[in-house]
């Protein structure tokens, strides 16, 4: 038994990634699972369909931010640990700052209905590399109904791509409609697939009201700059409490 774990006594619960005194199993405040602004790393979920560019976005964000912001990444893979391995190969972060979670055929379950394994991984990484400022959590590729639990992330980015068809914003779904930031990626492919970016912009605005939208081409140098700036603004807001 670790020395800080004395049964029945209040203790510093850092192994679970949050610090609070409590008696056995009895949360002493309402922020038990959710944390509150400024008290722990900002957790940002990145979701969206297969192939839309989630891993590329995570890699770009790490390249742009990791020098100035202590960052860790949890990836969710449907079949393999491929996304975590890809990030490690790209060497955007030290290997031990990236952890994969296996989601058992159901990527949306692991980020929405049963977030146990993801919270476990997030808290372990945050504790291992404390102090962490930013935790990026990449969902497995899924469909338009996927959305992160608010108990798992504080902000979420939904990534769709132009090559998936310019009708996608109109089809809506909770990711397109309610994500804190909608990223429409692969704008460089628009002419090749005859996608109308104007239509996508109009439909996305109709679905999202005033929520922000960024058009990106992540293959371009600095292609994720606007998203990185959004992340930094969210981080500043979070840390200010």
């Amino acid at each position: 038994m670790p020395p800080d774990h004395v049964p029945g006594q209040p203790h510093d619960h850092t192994r679970d990634g949050h610090t609070h005194g409590h008696h056995d199993g009895l949360p002493d405040d309402a922020t038990w699972a959710f944390g509150s602004p400024g008290t722990r790393p900002l957790r940002i979920g990145i979701g969206g369909p297969v192939g839309s560019g989630k891993t590329a976005l995570v890699a770009s964000l790490c390249r742009l931010l990791a020098q100035q912001v202590s960052t860790v990444v949890v990836t969710n893979d449907i079949f393999t640990t491929e996304d975590a391995e890809a990030l490690r190969r790209m060497a955007v972060l030290p290997d031990d700052r990236i952890a994969p979670v296996e989601t058992g055929a159901c990527p949306h379950t692991a980020i929405r209905d049963d977030i146990s394994a993801n919270l476990d991984a997030v808290e372990q990484l945050e504790a291992l590399h404390a102090p962490v400022a930013l935790t990026l959590l990449e969902s497995g590729g899924d469909n338009l109904t996927a959305i992160f639990s608010r108990a798992l992330v504080d902000r979420q980015i939904f990534v769709i791509d132009v090559a998936g068809g310019d009708k996608v914003p109109r089809k809506g779904g909770p990711g397109v409609t309610t994500a804190d930031l909608l990223v429409i990626n692969k704008t460089d492919l628009a002419p090749l697939v005859r996608a109308d970016l104007g239509v996508m912009d109009r439909d996305a605005k109709a679905r999202r009201g005033t929520l922000p939208i960024e058009f990106t081409s992540l293959v371009a140098p600095d292609g994720a700059r606007a998203v990185a700036d959004w992340v930094l603004a969210q981080l500043a807001q979070w840390q200010a409490g």
Binding site: M1, P2, H5, P7, G8, H11, H13, R15, D16, H22, D24, G25, L26, P27, W32, A33, I78, F79, T80, V101, E102, T103, G104, A105, C106, T109, A110, D113, D114, I115, S116, A117, L119, D120
Partner: protein
């Protein structure tokens, strides 16, 4: 009152992280041992003769003997030769506590997490949570058996595309057998930890080690 609690704890939708695991079905399916629903019945039969009575007895004992949690955890770990399966069991034990502490605040999560740096073996956590929820050792054992059959059948439907009605008819036929196994486990709930069943499946342990090396797999175990 406790019947509804038992149904909640038994429900596969209760968030425990278990949805990502196949209880060994993927490994057996991958080597061609689970091609039909009849094969699946044989797979479950194997588990009900080997790992299931052990897990059920330890869950029942953890429910009945909170002062023996450390010893029970140790005894169950040494009945689990595969390092991968011990890691999986401890991660699922840890994850069960997360949901249980919220649902049943009497759950002594810190004590249970303190049993081992990676968390308690899952059946120990389940038995302890059952006690905190006001359930009996028999309930804890039945829950363990129900979770096993649920994990196996769900994974088989997803991996092999079996007829879900046929698979659940199989699960229904197993009901009386699960009840009998739970009764046996409950009768052992107050036995000394070292004297609890030690029936295990070497094939399951070996296949779990193989499975973790697969490059492409749907389930974590």
């Amino acid at each position: 009152m406790t019947t509804a609690t038992l149904l909640l704890l038994a429900d596969s939708r209760f968030p425990t992280g278990a949805h990502a695991h196949s209880a060994g079905v993927e490994a057996s399916h991958g080597r061609g041992d689970v091609r039909t629903v009849a094969d699946l019945a044989t797979f479950i039969d194997g588990r009900l003769l080997t790992t299931a009575p052990t897990d059920a007895a330890f869950a029942a004992a953890a429910c009945a003997q909170p002062h023996q949690w450390g010893e029970l955890d140790h005894e169950l770990a040494i009945r689990t030769p595969s390092p991968r399966l011990r890691t999986v069991s401890r991660s699922l034990g840890r994850q069960l506590l997360r949901g249980a502490e919220r649902a049943w605040p009497a759950t002594p999560g810190a004590t249970l997490r303190g049993l081992h740096p990676e968390g308690p073996m899952q059946p120990i956590a389940l038995g302890a949570v059952a006690a905190a929820a006001g359930l009996t050792p028999h309930d804890a054992a039945l829950c363990t058996l129900h979770h096993l059959v649920g994990a196996v059948t769900t994974a088989a439907v997803r991996l092999a595309g079996f007829d879900p009605f046929e698979v659940h008819a199989l699960a229904a036929r197993l009901g009386p057998r699960l009840d009998a196994l739970a009764a046996t486990a409950a009768a052992q709930a107050h036995d000394a930890p070292a004297l609890l069943p030690a029936t295990t499946s070497l094939l399951a342990d070996i296949l779990a080690e193989h499975h973790t090396t697969w490059e492409v797999r749907l389930f974590a175990s």
